[in-house]
């Protein structure tokens, strides 16, 4: 068969990011080394699980960041969830004392909501891009408050939770006043059937 130069010769090189592969190997080595050291020194306190949780968090952050064109509000949402889970894990590993749910998660909630508020103010014309993420962050922010309302044992210092939830309500109401139409439009497009 006679071929013309209609197509380029494709170089059959398997694509793959070397940096990611190297990081994967390093992660595995660190995790295994910590596990072995932990096993050889003491099995009373499984500190290697903290390292493992940290590695998982780093990977969540890396995988999410590798995707280009990520909406900044979605990044705030993903990191808020990931850090909250990480702090909860650490709290459980070092013998649960409740600092994660009492203190760190309310701080994370407050920071996430304030970040979204700042984003709304500085780029109000692009707010429709953040609307759905703010709504999810707002709903998730209410979870500790709901837990506190229905259970007396889990949150022992509710003041931080109340402050964080108040910030969440304030920022959401503020955005609603400022960009209520955008939120309704965003819900219309995201929830269309």
């Amino acid at each position: 068969m006679e071929y013309m130069t209609l197509y380029p010769k494709v170089r059959n090189v398997k694509k793959g990011n070397i940096a990611i592969k190297v990081m994967l190997i390093i992660s595995a080595i660190v995790a295994i080394t910590c596990f072995i050291v932990n096993l050889c020194t003491s099995t009373r306190f499984w500190w290697c699980l903290i390292v493992l949780a940290g590695i998982v968090y780093i990977w969540v952050a890396v995988i999410y960041s590798v995707h280009r064109n990520i909406n900044i509000a979605s990044s705030v949402l993903v990191h808020s969830i990931a850090i909250s889970l990480l702090t909860l894990c650490i709290d459980f590993i070092i013998g649960y004392s409740g600092w994660a749910i009492n203190l760190s998660i309310p701080i994370i909630i407050a920071v996430a909501n304030i970040t979204i508020l700042v984003l709304t103010i500085v780029s109000i014309h692009r707010y429709y891009k953040y609307a759905i993420y703010q709504l999810i962050i707002f709903l998730l922010s209410l979870i500790p408050l709901i837990i506190d309302l229905f259970s007396n044992n889990i949150i022992t210092m509710p003041i931080f939770t109340i402050i964080a939830s108040s910030i969440a309500v304030f920022t959401f109401v503020f955005s609603l006043i400022l960009c209520g139409k955008s939120i309704i439009e965003e819900l219309d497009r995201r929830l269309h059937m």
């Binding site: 071929y3 197509y7 497009r189």
Partner: protein, 423 residues
């Protein structure tokens, strides 16, 4: 910068593609125009941007909703690149400024790879034609005046004409048997082999007329004959050979939409059909086309699909669950087709522009189940029949060419060299 928050729903056919697609199943087709001159990338970029002003429905990105995907306006810059990969590869929005089409060039050729959610082959041609017209105008300013450009009327209607035309009361069309799947060693490293068969259109028309069949019926028969002789017999096939033929619904229903508006018919060989006889195959294919290519039958298939997409239960399944269900079931659905043959017909070009164009080509992405896909389009006195394949061997393609030569039809063959390098 223009406000970037207009959105629109996906049409009924478009809904399935983002849910079912992956790197292995790209749902991408390619339309190429080969000019008689080397492509200048800077002119091509200007041409694409100008074409997009007339066809803004292509200037969109795909967004995830809770129940379905949707399109949103995209104001990012369009990326124009030199061709360096296999055709019809998965278009990663993250590396393509979120666009669902990709424009590449190579020597004299302009490629337009389109994700099927955006539109079908027939409307894709409108976009390619607009790019080509604008490119020629920009490259040969002295030969064209403003009048020609402004006179071109292009519809940018994105209405879902499936919803407008489907019959709520129509009975559901019946599903057939599982089809014979082409067998053979797969090309390494996700390569796609391309073989273009340039067929003399006058000779093909004459031969089809002699046999009292249409060009599509004739080529479908040659394809069944080639599959039977080169693959089916060799691997002792038991299941029927089933060719899926996409149908342009604009021929049957009034429509000006630039979105998807196609359906399909299936030509399925029967047990009592003598596949050794080409004449028998021709008669059978003609009978199948006559039976299935009627407005009633097409409406039945279209309505079955629209009703499925409109089913309140399916609508209310969250997207993340749809993704799992459809991905699993789509592998099964595709087992009901041996191959697809899409003939978009003649590509009409305004007289003044014809002298700059050599030919047009259409390619469809092959995948793990349908290892070979076929497409055709014609320009001037040539019909370009294209095989895209993931198979290492080229027996089907060779048998196809052999049959055309036996039928005394003049052909020439071109390709992307994948099969050449391997053998």
């Amino acid at each position: 910068m223009a406000k970037e928050n207009n959105w629109r729903r996906l049409d009924n056919s478009a809904k399935i593609f983002p849910i079912a697609s992956s790197k292995k199943y790209s749902s991408v087709f390619r339309l190429s125009a080969v000019l008689k001159e080397k492509i200048a990338p800077n002119i091509l970029k200007k041409a694409v941007n100008l074409a997009l002003k007339n066809l803004s429905s292509f200037k969109v990105k795909l967004k995830k909703g809770f129940f379905w995907y949707y399109f949103e306006d995209n104001n990012k810059e369009v990326i124009i690149e030199k061709e360096k990969d296999y055709p019809c590869k998965y278009i990663d929005p993250n590396t393509n400024n979120d666009y669902l089409f990709k424009v590449t060039y190579w020597e004299n050729k302009i490629n337009l790879d389109i994700f099927h959610s955006l539109t079908d082959g027939n409307s894709g041609i409108i976009f390619l034609r607009e790019i080509v017209y604008t490119y020629i105008e920009l490259a040969h300013k002295e030969d064209f005046n403003q009048k020609l450009r402004t006179e071109r009327k292009i519809s940018n209607n994105t209405e879902d004409d499936y919803l407008k035309n489907y019959d709520k009361k129509s009975k559901n069309s019946k599903g057939g048997k599982k089809a014979y799947r082409l067998k053979g060693k797969i090309l390494p490293l996700a390569a796609i082999g391309v073989i273009h068969v340039n067929i003399d259109l006058d000779e093909l028309k004459n031969r089809s007329k002699e046999k009292n069949v249409t060009i599509t019926q004739y080529l479908t028969s040659v394809l069944i004959h080639a599959i039977y002789n080169s693959n089916y017999k060799k691997y002792n096939g038991k299941k029927p050979i089933k060719i899926c033929i996409p149908v342009d619904l604009k021929k049957y229903f009034k429509s000006e939409t630039i979105s998807n508006f196609f359906s399909y018919i299936s030509v399925q060989t029967e047990e009592n059909l003598n596949l050794d006889s080409f004449e028998e195959i021709l008669k059978f294919v003609k009978k199948e086309f006559d039976r299935k290519l009627t407005k009633e039958e097409i409406s039945k298939t279209m309505s079955t699909n629209v009703k499925l997409g409109n089913n309140i239960f399916i609508k209310s399944i969250p997207l993340f669950l749809k993704l799992i269900i459809v991905k699993l079931s789509y592998i099964e659905i595709r087992k009901y087709t041996t191959t697809t043959f899409s003939n978009v017909g003649r590509i009409g070009i305004i007289g003044e522009y014809q002298k700059y164009i050599d030919k047009f080509m259409m390619l469809i992405a092959p995948e793990s189940v349908e290892k070979i896909k076929c497409s055709a389009c014609s320009f001037e006195n040539k019909l370009n029949f294209t095989f895209t394949s993931t198979l290492e061997g080229t027996e089907v393609e060779e048998e196809f060419c052999k049959k055309l030569k036996e039928e005394e039809i003049n052909i020439s063959v071109e390709g992307n060299g994948v099969h050449d390098f391997i053998s």
